[in-house]
C-alpha cells in the first residue's frame, strides 16, 4: 500500500451513501492493511480485526462513557441547555462502568433470561402470524409489492416489547417516535444544527410519560418489567427513580430498534439468495443457525464506541487517553483470520462466534430475546408466505444515515415470478 492510499483510508467517512450501502470493501482494506487506524473524518480510532475488537470489548482500558465527555464539550458552548438529557442518558447502563453498571445489569437481567424468553415465544409467534396473514392478503394480487419493514419488521418487536415491558400497545406510535429522536444521538446521526435540541425534547417527554406509568404501577403492581423495576426501587432502594426511567428508556429503545433492523437486514440477504431462502422454507430446523449467520454478515450494530481510559498501545499504534475508539463489529465479523470465506453466506455455518451482540460486560442484555424473536418471526414468515423476491435491487434500498445502527428504511418485496403455488 502506498502512502497516498493509507492517507485516503484516514479520510473516509462511514456515513457516505456508498459506505452506508456496503462498507465491506473499506473494512477489507482495514483488515488487510490498517487494522488499527486513526480516522480523521470521525476523529476516532477504527479497530477492525476480530481479536483486537474482542480484546477491547473485554478490557477496562476501553471505557464506555460517551455521555460525560460529550456533555463537557457541549456545556462549554454558550446557549447549551441540555442538562436533563445528559443526566438521563448518563444513567443508561450501556454508558456506565462497574459497580453502577453491574448493579443495574443484575437488576434488569431477570427479565431477559433464557427461561423468561421461552415463555414469550408463543406471543412472538402469534404476533408474527397476524402480521404475515395481513401481508399475505396485500401481496396476493399479481404484481403487488409490500414493504416488509413497515408491515413486519417494525411492528413485530414493538408489539412484543410493549406487552412484556408494561406499556400500552396503543402507545406504540408515540414510543416509536421518541425512539427515533433518541436514536439520532444514541446511534450517531450526522450532527445537524438542531439534533441535540430534538433529542433533549424527546427525552423530556419520554421521561414524563414513564413517570406517570411508574406512579400507576406503584399503586397497582403488575407482572411486567417496568413494574418489577418499580418494586426494586421501592422495596430495596436498589435503584433510584432516575435509574428506573433511564433503564426503561434503554430497554424500550433497544427493544424496538435492534430487532426491527436485524430482521430487515436478515431478510434482505435471504431474498438476495433464493436458494438459501428456499432451503429455510423447506426446513425450519435450519433457521437458528441461519439467524447467527445473518447476524454475522449483516447485524444491526455496525460498531460500538469506546474511549481510552489511559494511554495504551494496540497494533503498534499509540492511543492516547480520552481518544475515541470505534470497535468495528461489522468488520471483525468478516475477519478472514477468524471466519473461513468470511463474505459468503453459509446458513449452516458452525462455531459462529460473531460479535453482533458485542462481548464482555456490555454483551447485549436482550440477546436471548433477540435470537428467539428473529428465529420465531422468520420461521413464521417463511412458512406463511409464498416465495418472495426483492421488488428493487438490494443496493438501491434506502439505509438509515446512522453511524452505529445498520438497517433499511424500506424493504419492498413481491411474490417471486415463476411461482405456481
Amino acid at each position: 500500500m502506498t502512502r497516498t492510499d493509507a492517507q485516503a483510508l484516514e479520510r473516509v467517512s462511514l456515513l457516505t451513501p456508498e459506505l452506508l450501502v456496503d462498507p465491506h470493501p473499506y473494512f477489507a482494506e482495514l483488515l488487510a492493511h490498517r487494522p488499527v487506524l486513526w480516522n480523521e473524518a470521525h476523529r476516532a480510532w477504527l479497530i477492525a480485526r476480530y481479536d483486537d475488537v474482542v480484546a477491547a470489548f473485554r478490557s477496562e482500558a476501553f471505557g464506555s462513557d460517551r455521555i460525560g465527555p460529550y456533555a463537557r464539550l457541549r456545556d462549554a458552548r454558550p446557549g447549551a441547555d441540555l442538562e436533563r438529557m445528559f443526566t438521563v442518558l448518563g444513567k443508561w447502563m450501556v454508558f456506565l462502568s462497574p459497580p453502577d453498571h453491574s448493579r443495574l445489569r443484575i437488576l434488569a437481567h431477570r427479565s431477559f433470561t433464557p427461561r423468561q424468553v421461552r415463555i414469550l415465544k408463543s406471543r412472538v409467534e402469534t404476533v408474527a402470524a397476524e402480521l404475515a396473514a395481513h401481508l399475505r392478503a396485500r401481496i396476493a394480487p399479481r404484481g403487488s409489492s409490500v414493504d416488509l419493514v413497515e408491515g413486519f419488521c417494525l411492528p413485530l418487536p414493538g408489539r412484543v416489547i410493549a406487552g412484556v415491558f408494561g406499556v400500552p400497545e396503543a402507545d406504540g406510535e408515540m414510543l416509536k417516535s421518541w425512539a427515533e429522536e433518541l436514536g439520532l444521538f444514541i446511534n450517531g446521526s450526522a450532527r445537524e444544527e438542531d439534533r441535540d435540541r430534538r433529542v433533549a425534547d424527546a427525552i423530556l417527554e419520554f421521561e414524563k410519560y414513564l413517570k406517570s406509568l411508574i406512579a400507576g404501577y406503584r399503586r397497582r403492581p403488575a407482572d411486567n418489567i417496568l413494574s418489577g423495576l418499580v418494586t426494586a426501587n421501592d422495596q430495596d432502594d436498589a435503584l433510584s427513580e432516575e435509574e428506573v426511567v433511564a433503564t426503561s428508556m434503554l430497554i424500550l429503545d433497544a427493544g424496538y430498534k435492534t430487532v426491527q433492523n436485524a430482521l430487515g437486514n436478515a431478510l434482505v440477504l435471504l431474498l438476495d439468495s433464493p436458494r438459501d431462502y428456499q432451503r429455510l422454507q423447506d426446513d425450519s430446523d435450519l433457521v437458528p443457525a441461519a439467524v447467527e449467520e445473518l447476524l454475522r454478515l449483516n447485524g444491526p450494530s455496525r460498531l460500538s464506541v469506546r474511549r481510552a481510559v489511559h494511554d495504551l498501545e494496540l497494533g503498534g499504534c499509540r492511543i492516547s487517553k480520552d481518544s475515541r475508539v470505534y470497535l468495528l463489529q461489522a468488520a471483525a465479523n468478516r475477519d478472514p483470520r477468524r471466519f473461513d470465506d468470511p463474505n459468503e453466506l453459509r446458513i449452516d455455518r458452525t462455531s459462529n462466534s460473531h460479535l453482533a451482540f458485542g462481548m464482555g460486560i456490555h454483551f447485549c442484555l436482550g440477546a436471548a430475546l433477540a435470537r428467539m424473536e428473529l428465529t420465531s418471526a422468520l420461521s413464521v414468515l417463511l412458512r406463511q408466505l409464498p416465495p418472495l423476491e426483492l421488488a428493487e435491487p438490494a443496493a438501491c434500498l434506502p439505509r438509515h444515515r446512522l453511524l452505529l445502527l445498520n438497517g433499511l428504511e424500506r424493504l419492498p418485496v413481491r411474490i417471486a415470478r415463476g411461482d405456481r403455488r
Binding site: 453491574s102 445489569r105 443484575i106 431477570r110 433470561t113 462466534s353 462481548m359 460486560i361 454483551f363 436471548a368
Partner: protein, 85 residues
C-alpha cells in the same frame, strides 16, 4: 478437574462452556463467591467456589445457570442439592 469435554471447564459439579461464554459476568454478579472472570475473559469457577469443597450456594449457582444470557453454565450432576450436602 476430571473428565473435561473440549471447550468446557469443569470444577466440582459445575461446568462452563468456554466457547459459548461471552464474559458478560452475569454469573459473577449473581454468585460472586462461586464465579469470576478468568484471564481469558471467560467465566471460571473459583477454586473454593465449587460445591464439594464446602461452599454451598446452590441457589446462587442455579440463579447463575438460569441467568446466563448464552446458557453457558450447567450442573454436571442431575441432583446438585443432594450432592452438595
Amino acid at each position: 478437574m476430571t473428565g473435561e469435554r473440549p471447550g468446557h471447564t469443569t470444577r466440582g459439579l459445575i461446568e462452563v462452556d468456554t466457547e459459548a461464554c461471552v464474559g458478560s459476568a452475569t454469573c459473577v454478579g449473581i454468585a460472586s463467591d462461586v464465579f469470576s472472570i478468568g484471564a481469558g475473559g471467560k467465566a471460571v469457577v473459583n477454586p473454593r467456589g465449587h460445591l464439594d469443597e464446602g461452599v454451598q450456594d446452590v441457589q446462587g449457582v442455579q440463579d447463575a445457570i438460569d441467568g446466563c444470557p448464552v446458557t453457558a453454565i450447567r450442573w454436571r450432576s442431575a441432583d446438585p442439592s443432594g450432592a452438595a450436602r
